[in-house]
Amino acid sequence: MKHLLSTADLSREEAILILDTANQLAQATGQGVGKLPPLRGRTVVNLFYEDSTRTRISFEAAAKRLSADVINFAAKGSSVSKGESLKDTALTLEAMGADAIVLRHGSSGAANTLAHSGWISGSVVNAGDGTHEHPTQALLDAYTLRRHLRSGQGDLAGATVTIVGDILHSRVARSNVHLLQTLGANVRLVAPPTLLPFGVDTWGAQISYNLDEALVGSDAVMMLRIQQERMNAAYFPTIHEYSQRYGLNQTRVNLMNEGAIVMHPGPMNRGVEITSEVADGPQSVIVEQVTNGVSVRMAVLYLMLGGNEARND
């Protein structure tokens, strides 16, 4: 795997390999082992154009636990904020010997541009590009689902997963729809019509405007954050109405199948798309998702850089 840009690029076998590798690495770190050696001598650069402390720290922890050298390049307050182009930043990182660049950027397609531009010879991990994709989030979501619904083995065939919220602007939703379908799950998308992308009916998922109906028969629900700015752009009239129609509370959780789990990529708007009772309740795996994120990102970095496929090999 040279680059990880989109979950649409992963076959079923590749996805399962990443999840199984994450299993092994989670066990290894869980056994109190310190650093693991396979990325010794590799340099991983976190190039973050958007604020995201949690994702950046997750990647940093993952890289360091595999003995890689980590460089954090926060675009704010650096030469980038003075208008340096992505190209010039990339050329600088290439000159510094980056084996992999973990890129979070506000423009859809930025990771694709970086990977295919010819500016760098290393690998690119897409940590979120605009409203396009966030593949490691989908992988950690699938890992979490598999742990709870399939005893941590195999795929997600036969599971029904419902994703709720601003699908139109969600890179998490796009990545999850591809990956969940690749792993055999049945996907449902719930949102008001204004927050569904043109052509969503070609995505292979069931579309619904009614959250209560969609939750019946679901094995998991994934709540997406709703942003204040969307209200000002007339996607829905008020946060209150959105919360009434599309917010997750315990009554709604009880509509799901036995053993169902509640997920959220974070950060949450408590009281808007999810109540505190549900977020902190027994079915919520939201905190576990964060832990799983490190294992999954370790797996991605190991498979990408742990062998002979990096820039100088």
Binding site: S108, A110, P197
Partner: protein, 426 residues
């Protein structure tokens, strides 16, 4: 002036014949002619010099992308003998002073007839009319007015502009794009944009403005021209308007005759353009429209950009593609080779009709004895692998890099002087 005899050329698709150019005009058409210089035209089609109604020459203000001189060279290389230079320069061409500057630069370059287009509104801001009459009366003799790059979206401004230019037989060329429906838009709104996470530019934003403007033009009895028409719905609206006798003309770009929004999947900004590349159904509809005359002309919307404006992520990239050098090749591939139009119709869509719309008396004349010698020789049998670095234009943002296009311009004559011979600039 040296005389040239073009040997065995097929005049707009007719039987091979010789053509003698002398003293700036077509002197003779017949067999076994002689002249001072011989140009071997065997197998070539002779067309009247192409006239582009929509080009961005970028000067004044953005000379790192193109200048009137470099743009003229690109035009000549593409077989053009006249181009209309759009007004979205810096400063905007909204006064007699700026249009005369562009006109003078065109004359100095001396490679094509450069016809400046005047802005409709001051600064392209869409709020007050520019000095349309002054520009018409200037040495540049402006007849086409456009805020291209931006839409004249205020209906009252559009109405006044349509009415006002009637006084000097001017025409408003509208860039149809409802701004509120396309705020932040990056590519065609469709299945692809939904998957790629790029904000969509819906067809209705173009069609709604065209529908409004044809009705306005009808109401005030003015003529209207629609720039770079790109959707099936737009073709239908123009067809309806013409059936009602409304005096509207429309243009289509070469890239909209062949490229679709699928190309955005690569996130390569060379495919980012305004209006955006549409779907295959739209491509087929505009080809049909060009064939049946609903769309009157091909216009390149040649939009050069320096490399830093395209060598970046999609949303940071400028909109636009170059097109002067590949226009005739693309029309050949999409319209002639497919049997949709004949060479005689190519002459109409790319020379006679644009000259009529732009009111350019000395261009767009059929090849006949006595006519000014503005002639393009096109070899339809050549095959050219397009390479961005080989562009004559100062900019390299051609979407056809890596494509092999059929045919090439072997010679261009501007008022009897060759600007291109043997496929190369003279």
């Amino acid at each position: 002036m040296t005389s040239y005899v073009l040997k065995s050329v097929s005049i707009v698709g007719g039987e091979p014949t010789d053509l003698l150019i002398a003293d700036g005009v077509v002197a003779q058409i017949g067999q076994n002619l002689s002249g001072e210089q011989i140009v071997d035209g065997a197998g070539c089609i002779a067309l009247p010099g192409l006239v582009d109604l929509h080009t961005h020459l970028r000067e004044p203000g953005k000379e790192d992308a193109e200048t009137v001189l470099s743009g003229s060279k690109a035009a000549a290389a593409g077989g053009f003998t006249s181009v209309h230079a759009m007004a979205n320069t810096n400063p905007v061409a909204d006064t007699a002073g700026v249009v005369e500057q562009v006109w003078r630069l065109g004359n100095e370059a001396g490679l094509v007839d450069v016809r400046p287009i005047g802005a409709v509104t001051k600064g392209l801001e869409g709020t007050t009319l520019a000095e349309l009459g002054a520009m018409a009366d200037s040495a540049a003799g402006v007849r086409v007015f456009s805020d291209d790059g931006k839409c004249v979206h205020d209906p009252i401004i559009m109405r006044r502009a349509l009415e006002y230019v009637k006084a000097f037989d001017g025409v408003i060329a509208q860039h149809a794009q409802e701004p509120k429906l396309t705020d932040g838009a990056q590519m065609n709104e469709g299945i692809i944009s939904g998957q790629l996470g790029l904000r969509g530019w819906p067809a209705v934003a173009e069609e709604a403005i065209i529908a409004r403007d044809v009705l306005l033009a009808s109401h005030v009895g003015a003529r209207l021209h629609i720039c770079h028409l790109s959707t099936a719905g737009s073709v239908e609206i123009i067809r309806w308007a013409k059936s009602r006798g409304i005096n509207v003309t429309a243009e289509v770009t070469p890239h909209h005759l062949i490229l679709t929004d699928e190309l955005a999947t690569s996130y390569n900004p060379v495919f980012k353009v305004n209006p955006p590349l549409r779907t295959q159904a739209d491509v087929e509809a505009v080809r049909e429209g060009l064939a049946d005359g609903t769309i009157d002309i091909v216009a390149t919307d040649h939009a050069p950009h320096p490399s830093q404006d395209k060598d970046c992520e999609w949303s940071a990239a400028a909109f636009g593609m170059t097109g002067l050098e590949t226009a005739l090749q693309v029309v050949h591939a999409t319209m002639v080779k497919t049997g949709l139009i004949t060479w005689a119709q190519v002459a109409d869509r790319m020379s006679y009709a644009p000259a009529v719309i732009g009111r350019v008396a000395t261009q767009g004349q059929a090849i006949a004895v006595g006519a000014p010698a503005n002639i393009t020789l096109f070899d339809p049998n050549a095959e050219v692998l397009i390479k961005a670095e080989h562009s004559v234009s100062a900019s390299h943002n051609t979407p056809f890099a890596g494509y092999t296009l059929p045919g090439s311009v072997s010679a261009t004559f501007f008022n009897g002087r060759p600007t291109v011979l043997d496929g190369k600039l003279v």
